[in-house]
Symmetry: C2
Subunit: 343 residues, 2 copies
């Protein structure tokens, strides 16, 4: 049987916000498997802010997507055919399989996950790269101590919501910044952040930050950059730490991202500001994953997922990231596992 | 005998560059000494860029100067009268005695220096706060490794010239940025920097940096901020470190210091940027001072001093800092030690 594989390729590099010309739907027939290969059916696709960077043709920590090639991204899938004796039909696996319905993987591109331990989607979120990003950025760079005030922007997103909770687990006072009343309620009522500020509705973010952080800010986990971060910088304490994880406010700008230079601010309080990506800590993924899974099992770490349904919704879901529409991890559900479709 | 003490006070906080209204010459009669006090005659006064910050009424790591009070600053002086049994006439001492010809110190405000070990002026420069600033910023934050490329701005200044030499001692390739041909010659011919760029005469600093740093930049010691630093940021390697020591380009700006925001740059290469002041490392001053003195004795560390003569020249000398007129440490010679005046 020949399988037709629906795919989404990069058609044109966007200037500013990606639009209808950026991505193109296409399809191709799948080859048959060589020895030691695995055919994977896509179940869930992760859409992430960092992918915006890969749409541009600029050198960074990760290669740009190539025009006319399938967009790469994190996928949880199911093995539906295997010529490898290490993988069997029905195995649930994770990898960078991309925006397509099927992927033929070599053995080294496959990592099996155990669906009995946690929902399979968590491996794209709280137990995956996003959870690890929160964990390492906060603990390695932010180094929150008991009683510290930790501010996190993009607080209701996949990374931000984990950051705030991990900071609480370390005894910090946690203040989130997010962009809707629904998110503020989520942060305060479900995740038990000490304070949360809606940057879209506030009339004075400087004042709100001062009220929310009466002892100043010791750690600022920066997911957004721009004027929100400028406002937090003004509240930093001596020896404050700023893990710089994202700058989503800048990703779709058509002009340079201009603002107050930070040098004087950094000197004034001996502040540390460090950019990072989760890959910087890859040799410690294992211990961190065990810790995250343990917190999850003990119900000390909560997560929310926003799941959009349908392969054709992937580009739209991706844009949701920049419109602030998601609470928690944003995923696209492409297919159901065989076990579910049978039952 | 009543001694009349010439003093310089802060008359008006400057907006932008300090001018004739900023400082005011005045004088007062000295009181006689109480028990345990020391009368110190000012020999050399240190003028430093950080002092610009203290002219403004903004909270920082060090208190603002007060209007109508004597400007505080580093001084090397001579004990000319003492009611303390710990200090004798003729002792050479160092402290924050300020812009005045005489100072009555309590015992805890006095640190004796040994004029037989090194010229007394070095204690305000290479063996003093400026040498220590270079030492700690470079080694604690910059952490240069053998073969790294280290770029330093304000390279011919007191701190910058020490930074480059200490980086060379650690096996780094060193590139200096400075603002006159005299300084470039000093950096290359006397201090043996690998390359030096005159930012005032270059027509393309980006190109010059690329040529001078064929393997990119691993450490950028930032003394200046502004567009020079923006240009260096574009050449940073992965995991680069930026000790942020000064932002002299911004100290006299009348409008906000605006430029490209750094977050995306920091994330792209997992860059660390850290503001500091020498006081952050005060518990390690002793070992560092010993190391600096040893390098100096072994002729591994050279220094230059620009000495302006005359108490009345202090405000003018201070402004030289912002006009880029000094090579190495800028000092004002106010009086000669008794030993010299006798001989």
């Amino acid at each position: 049987m020949t399988i037709s594989n629906n795919q989404i390729i990069l058609a044109n590099r966007p200037v500013g916000m990606p639009d209808g010309d950026t991505f193109k739907f296409t399809n191709s027939n799948l080859n048959s498997l060589n020895e030691g290969q695995i055919l994977i059916k896509t179940l869930y696709i992760s859409v992430d802010p960092y992918m915006r960077g890969r749409l541009a043709d600029t050198k960074s920590y990760i290669e740009p997507f190539k025009v006319n090639e399938v967009i790469q991204g994190g996928v949880v899938g199911e093995v539906i055919e295997s010529t490898s004796d290490q993988y069997n039909e029905g195995d649930i696996v994770i990898g960078m399989y991309g925006w397509q319905e099927y992927f033929i993987a070599n053995e080294n591109e496959v990592r099996k996950i155990d669906p009995s331990l946690a929902p399979i989607t968590t491996h794209l979120g709280i137990l995956g790269m996003t959870g690890l990003t929160a964990y390492f950025g906060l603990l390695k760079i932010g180094q929150p101590k008991k009683g510290d005030t930790v501010v996190v922007s993009g607080a209701a997103g996949a990374v931000g919501s984990a950051v705030g909770q991990i900071a609480k687990l370390h005894g910090a006072r946690v203040v989130g910044i997010a962009g809707s009343d629904e998110k503020i309620t989520f942060l305060k009522d479900e995740l038990h952040f000490d304070e949360a500020i809606n940057y879209r509705t506030t009339t004075d973010i400087d004042r709100d930050l001062k009220v929310a952080c009466p002892n100043g800010v010791d750690v600022y986990f920066d997911n957004v950059g721009g004027s929100i971060s400028d406002a937090v910088f003004a509240q930093l304490n001596r020896q404050a730490r700023i893990p710089v994880c994202g700058a989503i406010s800048a990703y779709n700008l058509e002009k340079p991202d201009i603002g107050p230079r930070v040098q004087s601010m950094l000197i004034k309080n001996s502040v540390l500001m460090q950019g990072f990506t989760v890959g910087d800590y890859s040799n410690e993924f294992k211990e961190a994953s065990i810790q995250l899974a343990q917190w999850l099992q003990e119900d000390k770490l909560k997560y929310r997922e926003t799941i959009v349904e349908g392969f054709d919704q992937i580009p739209t879901a991706f844009l949701h990231l920049f419109e602030g529409k998601n609470v928690g991890k944003l995923l696209v559900k492409v297919a159901v596992p065989s076990s579910e479709s049978i039952s």
